[in-house]
Amino acid sequence: MERSLTHIALFAALIAVLGLVPPLYLAGAVPITAQTLGVMLCGTVLGAKRGLLAVLLFLLLVALGLPLLSGGRGGLGVFVGPSAGFLVGFPLAAFTAGWIMERTTLPPFWAATAGGVIGGIGVMYLCGITGMAIVLNKTWAEASLLALAFLPGDVIKAVLTGLVTQSIARARPAALLARA
């Protein structure tokens, strides 16, 4: 019980800390932050259920008024803004990545990369684009054009999720709760 709780809390903190890492700029303009890498790691390392809870705990603290989203954003406003759909996608993406990690016997790198693509791009974009379509009152196809700029960065991040999960699996095989 205590182990679950501390893992969930520490990984919620990890998402926040990775959000402080200065973003990498793709083509000089599109920021890639390490924050969603943290979200995906919650799933691939902790597994579906604990990963989901860790991300929900992180979002709860954001809603309470802590500036933990990348760029120092936070508070209740981010949940009604145009990017709100992506925030809804965070826990679902972590759950999906964790589920893939738990249910497949692929090596950690491939399972986590697949989780990063299906959860971090598939599920995340589905939620995020739907959110933008609602807030900005555009059709789904129009809103998806806005997300397209971030696609190359998120493909890179899916591979990074795989690489980081692989090095955790090597350094602490027993700590990879998704495969425990």
Binding site: M1, E2, R3, L5, T6, H7, I8, A9, L10, F11, A12, A13, L14, A16, V17, L18, L20, V21, L24, A34, L37, G38, L41, V45, L57, F58, L60, L61, L64, G65, L66, P67, L68, G71, G72, R73, G74, G75, L76, G77, V78, F79, V80, G81, P82, S83, V135, L136, N137, L146, L160, L163, V164, S167, I168, A171, R172, A175
Partner: protein, 198 residues
């Protein structure tokens, strides 16, 4: 960096947190029913007036909190200029800005401890599956361990810089995650030794 609550005391700071959150929910619901630029513009002016009751410094801080919206505002404005459909564009932009500004206003005028009190009250029906003490402990652990992990990551970054001219970037993610995993094990043991999470 600690919280987004404004250090400038405004009259709204003294309103009960629960009342502000209920008013925010109602206001947001109403916003999504309004369809004319005039009504939405009045709603936005009302919010701006509330910001101004806190003084110029408070209002400037509030305007800064809206900065992440500007790229979307620019895109929507261009789109609707091109489509020659300014009314629809105005409705979308006014509604979005008013909704986000109102939500930010509640965040800026409510202390974290008051928010947590409201959360405890709201979470009470969930207590069979989620004991309030466990939720409180989880929140406290996150708040305590963000600076701890952040310091650890800064040390890792310095160690990297001592060895390489390049920036560490994502390479810090794996050791930072390992640090989180190790801390989680140790804190779990410490909690168990002190009688568990209750």
């Amino acid at each position: 960096m600690l919280t987004l609550t404004s250090p400038v005391e405004t009259p709204l700071h003294r309103v009960a947190a629960g009342a502000k959150l209920a008013a925010l929910a109602l206001f947001t619901l109403v916003l999504f029913q309004l369809t004319t630029p005039l009504a939405l513009g009045l709603a936005l002016i009302a919010i701006a007036a509330l910001y101004l009751t806190g003084g110029a410094r408070f209002a400037r801080h509030g305007a800064r909190m809206l900065r992440p919206l500007w790229p979307f505002v620019a895109l929507i404005a261009l789109w609707h200029l091109w489509r020659d459909d300014l009314t629809a564009g105005g409705v979308i932009l006014l509604r979005m800005t008013a909704a986000v500004a109102a939500a930010n206003l509640v965040t800026m005028t409510t202390r974290l401890s008051d928010m947590i009190t409201v959360l405890e009250r709201l979470a009470r029906p969930l207590s069979p599956v989620l004991p309030p003490r466990r939720l409180a402990l989880a929140i406290a652990l996150v708040i305590r361990f963000i600076p701890v992990l952040s310091d650890r990551t800064a040390l890792l970054s310095q160690a990297w810089r001592a060895r390489s001219a390049r920036k560490p970037g994502w390479r810090l993610a794996a050791p930072a995650a390992l640090a989180a995993l190790d801390d989680a094990e140790q804190v779990a043991q410490a909690l168990r030794a002190r009688g568990g999470t209750g």
